[in-house]
Assembly symmetry: C3
Homo-oligomer: 173 residues x 3
Amino acid sequence: MRKEELTIERRIRAIEGRLEIYNLIAGHPPSADTGSAAYAEAVFTADGVFDRGPDLSGAVGNKAIGANLQSAGHQAAIAGGLAHFTSLPHVTINGDTAVVISYLQILTPRKSGETIEVPNHGGSRGYHIHRVVTNRWDLVRTPSGWKIKRRTLRLVDGSEPARDILRGALPAA
Amino acid sequence: MRKEELTIERRIRAIEGRLEIYNLIAGHPPSADTGSAAYAEAVFTADGVFDRGPDLSGAVGNKAIGANLQSAGHQAAIAGGLAHFTSLPHVTINGDTAVVISYLQILTPRKSGETIEVPNHGGSRGYHIHRVVTNRWDLVRTPSGWKIKRRTLRLVDGSEPARDILRGALPAA
Amino acid sequence: MRKEELTIERRIRAIEGRLEIYNLIAGHPPSADTGSAAYAEAVFTADGVFDRGPDLSGAVGNKAIGANLQSAGHQAAIAGGLAHFTSLPHVTINGDTAVVISYLQILTPRKSGETIEVPNHGGSRGYHIHRVVTNRWDLVRTPSGWKIKRRTLRLVDGSEPARDILRGALPAA
């Protein structure tokens, strides 16, 4: 190929990588909310790390991360109604690695309280936003696509760790 | 054109389709929250289906789907303050068809309860999350762009139908 | 370059612009929630306008907009736990200008009320959705990338101004 074509190839490849990463992030909530291990096993590296901070259990290795979704506790959460809701992520690709910064809400239907009616939209007790977390996804490009090497999340509670995560999306001060 | 150019053309076309689909999904909340029929008429196929499940009314055909937004009930919901809020969608394109899986929150301002002050952000009674739903959008590519053949949504309430929708974004188990 | 290559170049450039704009929008919440002025200074034009409507203070000029994030009031909001949460935006590029329409939630942890337990996800008093706003971002392409010329936001409270913003994402009626 000529030089212009090489450049075009490189640019298209970067764009395709970016779109693949968007789907990787968008695929996480469906996996978490159905308790399917297949996504976790497919998208984490064999030595991938899932770090939820000091207060909740994490896991190491794509098999263990997938198994967590099938635990009795996680299945009970799903049975009560569970929705992981993701914001538009910020993506920085640097060759064969990438850093993604995103926010996530974890929602569940309220089991008590007043029912509110909205015209044309029925009645509802509303949803409880159980957790709002900031996420850092450290990705690597492998022969079988972009994979998660480490996912780190921290609770938005006014303390510093959640903000440290967010700084991964900011220009150097 | 030479072979490399054909391939490049095909790849760029796939990328452009993906970005067009993102705008199609992002255009839905502004349409729903203003009660504009124009979006619905432009983006659903003439025989398009809008399926909100067994408990809420649906519609068949782009004209009927648009008309629903102008019903007295929907206009009353808008007058109370209505926000459809969409997550990052998961998109799978397969030639001239595509499947999009997304989450949606429907929010409205609370009309009673305590007012909370947040520094630099005024006071507010907060918002009621009326519904959280999972969505499957079955799309087709037409000479005038990507269109919605069927939109199916199910309430996140712990029951199976909402999870069935989500499985459309997962790799085969 | 030959004609096909020019067209390819133009199409790839449009795609790259679109993805750059997604990151620009996704970079806003991390900046707002850490109080970093660097993002605001980098992405607003020197004469950029930040318009929050009649009830909250705005600013003119990228330096002033950045300084607002470092005000005592904004820092107090951050200390209480603050999350700006963005939907998938709708993007319309027209040569060297672009219009982006998006929704934003502003969330903060509840400081009182009942603690709810969710299996495998700990206990939480939940989050208060303080504001839901519609946003219009008027962008211009500069030699150093896409910049914000004006950001206008309006509260979703049932009144017309929030809907006026949303119409920027709709086809002409």
